[in-house]
């Protein structure tokens, strides 16, 4: 068993997941990989089983956050020291995992975020999504004083104390963990750093933020951030003990 676990939440990603897993296994043959199949109705689970990696099949769709939290619970039970979140759509570059490991293990950051907006990445974002990201950036800066360029990044590395906290009941949103979680963790003394990630275009499949979802997502996030700030004010922040 390796010290670090790569967690890949997957929902209907049969076309991308095979290639993602082969790339990861080729570059990091000694690292454990866990795919959390979040109630897919296609053959995602069958593709994953062929790749001989760890697989948790959820009986129904829990949402992106719910799938990730399942992975954290597994990591806690199995005794891993750190976890890396990696998307199943093929947008993340396996080469970035080395950078995350270095920042987690040597620099001792609690949360490492791969940013799409730092460095030379050619990643393009639509107007509505960019507006939401800019708003969340501003809110994080105003509430914590920390500049985070990509609060929605799915490429993350988490230290032991971070993912053990996330694994607890009611401590991680089931749908879209985003700026609300980062604000909560920053206000509770967890350290967050970003590095320029290489983000590629997805080959196939649908983004989870499409249709009217961005509107719901933005509103829900604003409410969530208010709740995090109110909780902090009333003394109910993060408590690992």
């Amino acid at each position: 068993m390796s010290d670090c676990l790569i967690i890949i939440p997957a929902h209907n990603e049969e076309k991308n997941i095979g290639r993602v897993l082969s790339e990861l296994k080729k570059q990091y043959p000694r690292m454990d990989i866990l795919v959390v199949d979040d109630g897919s109705v296609d053959s995602t689970a069958a593709v994953v089983e062929r790749e001989q990696v760890l697989l948790i099949s959820l009986p129904y769709n829990l949402g992106y956050g719910g799938a990730l939290q399942t992975g954290y619970k597994y990591a806690v039970n199995a005794g891993y020291c750190c976890v890396i979140q990696f998307d199943a759509d093929g947008q993340h570059d396996p080469c970035d995992i080395g950078t995350i490991l270095e920042l987690l293990e040597e620099k001792k950051w609690d949360i490492v975020l791969g940013s799409r907006f730092l460095g030379k990445s050619s990643y393009r974002v639509g107007f509505v999504k960019m507006f939401a990201i800019r708003t969340f950036r501003l809110l994080i800066k105003l509430t914590t004083g920390v500049r985070i360029t990509d609060p929605s990044s799915g490429l993350q590395g988490l230290s032991y104390r971070t993912f053990t906290y996330y694994a607890g009941l009611g401590r991680y949103p089931s749908d879209y963990p985003d700026a609300d979680v980062l604000i909560q963790m920053l206000l509770s003394g967890y350290s967050i750093c970003e590095f320029p990630a290489n983000i590629r275009d997805r080959d196939s499949g649908k983004s989870m933020h499409n249709g009217i979802k961005p509107l719901y997502y933005g509103l829900k996030m604003l409410v969530s951030i208010c709740v995090v700030l109110l909780r902090k004010k009333s003394g109910g922040g993060v408590n690992n003990e």
């Binding site: 948790i56 829990l62 399942t70 619970k73 597994y74």
Partner: protein, 124 residues
């Protein structure tokens, strides 16, 4: 209030109480959740037996048209009940998610353990 309407409201109140008790006996609703509905049924019964209660209350609150006071109170109570139900649904969703995750994680660990055990047996 006419006698026919009083009788109708009285039957409604009794029917409501009976329905809640039938649900309790059949274990379709628990005691905790039934309390709010029993209180509602009790209010209907009081109003049917003593319709003047509403008149007295309307005078206390200085309301010209007593039924509007009834509508206000019933809307507020319904809001309270709906909010309470939302709260319960949220708690249940959280617990259901926790259980689902725990079962999925445990099942994976059991599968790994079984696979490892059969590999060991094969080697021996």
């Amino acid at each position: 209030m006419s006698d026919i309407l009083r009788l109708l409201v009285l039957f409604c109140g009794i029917g409501f109480v009976l329905m809640v008790f039938v649900l309790l006996v059949k274990r379709k609703i628990n005691e905790r959740n039934s309390l709010l509905w029993l209180v509602g049924a009790f209010i209907i019964l009081v109003l049917s037996i003593a319709p003047n209660t509403l008149q007295v209350l309307a005078e206390v609150f200085d309301v010209d048209y007593p039924p509007s006071l009834l509508f206000l109170f019933s809307t507020l109570i319904m809001l309270l009940i709906v909010l309470y139900q939302s709260l319960q649904i949220s708690v249940l969703q959280e617990h259901l998610r926790e259980l689902t995750q725990q079962i999925a994680v445990d099942r994976t660990r059991v599968n790994i353990h079984t696979k490892n055990s059969s590999n060991d047996k094969g080697e021996n």
